[in-house]
């Protein structure tokens, strides 16, 4: 008799959490989506009164949108790759080796992050200017690399430290060189954390605006930079919404991909000690 009310009571926290999440996350996202496909949406109507792809067509027919998308994807891929190449070995050194000034150096990465970003960018921009890097793709890659250092070092350091050294010793023991051991044992063991760091780096670079704007302008324009200029020029909600959805797609795909890797790894990890 009392089973049903009690179950409802037990479900109450879950239900209210779900409601809250829906309110704060789903509703704004839904609004953006609706706006992206709305041609006319006037108060007090709850949903757009006229649907269509007019703004999509307008956006997709613009060469600068496509150029910016290409720039953004190329930038994110290159930055993530370079960041991994530089940071992963460095993170391994931090995790495994003892050297003087180690903790000070680690902390310095945190310090760059604590610094007000814009001030740092201005300082870097003035250096880049004298080096002729302002307005170049290479310049934007460099500034984004600075941005990714913290994430790509701190997360993998923790992951590497958590790996039992015996696993690496066992690999050396059966004849693997230090490099081979790192590639075949250490990296895969740290896989989920490194995957997460790579993904956050990719998405972070894709969305980063301030540095890309300061260093890249006026020749190199990424998607977020383009979005700002479009909105600045003419405040049409739909333009922002369409660009948001476009920006959202690659990162959502990346996240799905990561989830797949992570959950497969988590299953193997859960089963495998």
């Amino acid at each position: 008799m009392t089973a049903v009310p009690r179950r409802l009571l037990q479900m109450a926290p879950g239900v209210s959490l779900a409601t809250l999440l829906t309110g704060f996350i789903i509703v704004p996202i839904a609004a953006v989506f609706l706006w992206a496909f709305a041609e006319v949406w006037r108060y007090p109507s709850l949903i757009p009164t006229q649907w269509g792809f007019r703004f999509w067509a307008a956006m997709l027919s613009r060469a600068d949108v496509w150029a910016a998308l290409r720039t953004s994807i190329a930038l994110s891929v290159i930055v993530t790759l370079f960041s991994a190449l530089i940071c992963l070995p460095a993170a391994y050194a931090f995790a495994r080796l003892e050297f003087p000034g180690k903790s000070a150096l680690l902390l310095s990465f945190l310090a760059t992050q604590a610094f007000p970003k814009f001030g740092l960018y201005i300082a870097i921009a003035s250096i880049f200017f004298s080096l002729g890097l302002v307005g170049t793709f290479a310049g934007v890659v460099l500034i984004q690399l600075v941005n990714t250092l913290l994430l790509m070092i701190w997360i993998p350091v923790g992951a590497f430290q958590a790996i039992d050294r015996r696993l690496e010793e066992a690999a050396r023991d059966v004849g693997a060189s230090a490099t081979r051991t790192f590639l075949s044992i250490t990296l895969p063991q740290a896989g989920p954390a490194i995957g997460a760091a790579l993904l956050l780096t990719f998405v972070g670079t894709f969305y980063e605006t301030e540095g890309a704007f300061l260093i890249g302008a006026p020749h190199v324009r990424t998607m977020p930079v383009l979005m700002i200029s479009l909105i600045n020029n003419q405040l049409v909600v739909q333009y922002g919404a369409v660009l948001s959805v476009m920006l959202w797609v690659p990162s959502f795909i990346a996240l799905l991909f990561a989830r797949k890797i992570l959950s497969a790894r988590a299953i193997a990890g859960g089963l495998g000690a």
Partner: protein, 354 residues
């Protein structure tokens, strides 16, 4: 055909001495156990042989060649770790095949060797499993297979079974012994379990705080401990301290002749070297039935000692009994063994027999 010579090997960790002047020579195909309490430097010796620790001084010769300068991947040694150290992201097959792949064997050869070694350790059919899907004993079998498949000149095992339950430990011990014999692997087996060392080893190296106390066959280590430490560490031993004057000491009514200077000696008596019927009398405090025999705790001369009696002997707690000493070992103030023998009882001057 591999011999291992450890020559005055020492290791200091930032000033503290973990291993000091260890010297052992191990013959081809021999199984030697490093035995000693936790922290006495067994693992450090093994890790220096494998190449994970650099010796502070000393040499490690494998078939006459000093390997100290070689990195672990260039040494002909194979190690089985206590924590099995299997790679959890690889299947059983991949774990075992990893070293073979590094040696650039053909796929067919790798498959054949892996199948062979998995058969040897009784894990045929488990190739596709991940280590986390195996029991503790199976994991350790894979770790052994991963090592043995590479046919190392020297097999190193660091307490490989200490994380397993007693039953499994005994079984795996026997399996390892059989595999080691079959393949003729020169092996060093580290353990803190004296029973394991005595049942497994051709020779036992007893270690204490970084140094070697005694090297010998299990029976020699058991019957003729070279130091008081070895006597106390191997098997059950009663150790009673007595003053030796003029080459004689008294244990109750029994006189012990000692070949050494006067002083305080430790007298070591195995429970099975004592029997009922003597004049050294005491009260039974406890009777433990151990199946094949009974172990008594007896208070004699205000000390409690253990006495092993046949299971047919009827004895109850509180009984007064007399003990006869058959064998005794004596250790001087430094703990070194000194020749000693039962000299007779005080009243008769003649040894009584039970």
């Amino acid at each position: 055909m591999s011999e291992l010579v450890i020559d005055r090997l020492s290791k200091h960790f930032s000033g503290t001495r973990a291993v000091a002047d260890v010297e052992v020579a191990i013959d081809d195909g021999e199984l030697v156990c490093l035995l000693g309490p936790s922290g006495c430097g067994k693992s450090t010796v093994l890790r220096m042989i494998a190449g994970f620790e650099r010796p502070t001084s000393g040499r490690i010769l494998i078939d006459g060649e000093d390997v100290v300068a070689l990195p672990p991947d260039r040494r002909p040694t194979g190690m089985v770790f206590q924590s099995h150290a299997l790679w959890s992201h690889m299947t059983v097959f991949q774990n075992v095949a990893f070293g073979l792949k590094l040696r650039r064997l053909s796929r067919a050869a790798i498959r054949e060797k892996v199948a062979g070694v998995l058969d040897l350790v009784g894990l045929t059919g488990f190739e596709a499993r991940y280590p986390g899907q195996l029991s503790g004993g199976q994991q350790q079998r894979v770790a052994i297979a991963r090592c043995v498949v590479l046919e190392p000149k020297i097999l190193l095992m660091d307490e490989p079974f200490s994380a397993l339950d007693a039953h499994l430990r005994v079984r795996l011990r026997e399996e390892v012994r059989a595999i080691q014999r079959r393949l003729g692997l020169t092996t060093i087996f580290v353990t803190h379990d004296q029973e394991e060392a005595l049942t497994l080893a051709d020779r036992v190296v007893v270690m204490r705080s970084g140094t070697v106390e005694q090297i010998g066959s299990p029976s020699a280590i058991y019957a003729e401990p070279a130091t008081r430490f070895v006597a106390g560490f191997i098997g059950t031993m009663n150790i009673i301290e007595r003053q030796v004057t003029g080459g004689l000491a008294k244990l109750g009514d029994t006189r012990i002749a000692v070949d050494g200077p006067d002083g305080i000696y430790g007298f070591a008596l195995r429970p099975e070297d004592l029997s009922l019927g003597g004049a050294w009398s005491g009260e039974v405090q406890r009777v433990l039935d151990l199946g094949a025999f009974r172990m008594l705790d007896v208070t004699v001369s205000s000390e409690t000692i253990k006495v092993q009696v046949d299971k047919s002997v009827r004895i109850l707690v509180g009984d007064e009994i007399g003990l006869d000493i058959h064998e005794v070992a004596a250790f001087d103030g430094e703990g070194r063994a000194r020749p000693a023998r039962v000299h007779g009882t005080i009243e008769s001057g003649v040894r009584l027999h039970a």
